[in-house]
C-alpha cells in the first residue's frame, strides 16, 4: 500500500502537472513538430515538476517523523517532532540527493545510500534528479548561459519531450523512495512496515 505522500504525488501533483500540460497542448497542439513559441511554457513545466517533487519529499519526511513520534513515549513526542524537523533543508532548498539525505538522516535513515544500493537503475534516477534540479535552478535564476551549456553538455533541453522523460524518472523514483523509507523505518524501529 502506498503512503499518503505517494498517493498525493500520483493524484494531486499529477493533476497539477497535467493542468499545465493541457495549457501546453492548447498552445502548441498535441503533435510533435511545433517547437517554436513554447519555450517559456516548457521551462515552467520543469519548475513545476521540481516543486511538486519537493512537496512529495516533504510529505514523505513528515510521515517518517509521524512514525517515530507514534512509537515514542508521550512525554517525548512533541520534542521529537521539533528536533526531527528543525532546520529541514527541504523547507527552503530543492530536493537534491544531498538535501534528501541530510533530512532523512534526522529520522535515522540513510536514504540515498539505501536507494543507491537497490541497483544501477535507482542510481541513474538519482543522477537524473540532480540533473533536473540543476536545470530547474538555471531556469529559475534566468541563467541563459547555463541553460544552453546544459543542453549541449548534459543533453537536457527545455522541451515537452524532455519534461515527459524526466517526469517519468520521478514517477519511478517516488515509489522506490516510498518503499525504502517504509522498509527502513520498520527495521530501525522494529515495527511492521508503516505503509
Amino acid at each position: 500500500m502506498p503512503s499518503a505522500a505517494l498517493h498525493a504525488w500520483k493524484n494531486d501533483s499529477a493533476a497539477r502537472l497535467d493542468e499545465l500540460l493541457k495549457i501546453h497542448q492548447e498552445v502548441a497542439g498535441a503533435g510533435r513538430g511545433r517547437p517554436w513559441g513554447t519555450e517559456q511554457l516548457n521551462r515552467s513545466l520543469f519548475v513545476a515538476l521540481v516543486a511538486q517533487f519537493q512537496s512529495y519529499s516533504v510529505a514523505l519526511h513528515d510521515l517518517a517523523v509521524d512514525v517515530h513520534v507514534d512509537v515514542a513515549p508521550a512525554e517525548q513526542q512533541a520534542l521529537m517532532r521539533r528536533l526531527m524537523t528543525l532546520g529541514r533543508a527541504l523547507e527552503s532548498k530543492n530536493p537534491r540527493t544531498d538535501h534528501l539525505g541530510a533530512d532523512f538522516s534526522k529520522v535515522g535513515l540513510a536514504l540515498i545510500k539505501d536507494l543507491k544500493a537497490i541497483g544501477p537503475a535507482s542510481q541513474a534516477r538519482l543522477r537524473h534528479l540532480d540533473l533536473l534540479i540543476d536545470f530547474r535552478n538555471a531556469i529559475a535564476h534566468g541563467n541563459e548561459a547555463e541553460i544552453s551549456a546544459m543542453a549541449l553538455a548534459r543533453g537536457i533541453k527545455p522541451t515537452k519531450a524532455a519534461f515527459v522523460r524526466y517526469r517519468g524518472f520521478l514517477n519511478q523514483l517516488a515509489p522506490t523512495m516510498d518503499r525504502t523509507v517504509s522498509t527502513q523505518l520498520a527495521s530501525v524501529l522494529n515495527i511492521r512496515a508503516p505503509w
Binding site: 499518503a4 517532532r81 524537523t85 527552503s92
Partner: protein
C-alpha cells in the same frame, strides 16, 4: 489552500519542553488532523533556542497564536 486561522507572518508560540518558543508562520500545508505549520525561528525572538535562523514543522494543534506584545 488549507482553511486555517494561521497566516503567513503571524507570531505564534509552540511548546518546547517546559518553555514556549516564539516564532513566525512561514508556511501552512496539509489538512485535517495533518494540518502542519512551518514556523520560522530566529535566535533573538526564540530566546536563543536556535543559534541561527531556521524552521521547524509542527502540527497545527501544537501551535497557538501569540498574544500581542505588551
Amino acid at each position: 489552500m488549507p482553511q486555517t486561522k494561521f497566516r503567513f507572518g503571524q507570531s505564534v508560540l509552540l511548546q518546547w519542553g517546559l518553555s514556549e518558543v516564539r516564532g513566525r508562520v512561514q508556511r501552512v500545508y496539509g489538512e485535517g488532523s495533518a494540518l502542519r505549520i512551518v514556523v520560522a525561528l530566529d535566535p533573538e525572538e526564540s530566546e536563543w533556542i536556535v543559534d541561527e535562523p531556521t524552521t521547524v514543522a509542527v502540527l497545527a494543534d501544537e501551535v497557538r497564536l501569540a498574544p500581542p506584545a505588551a
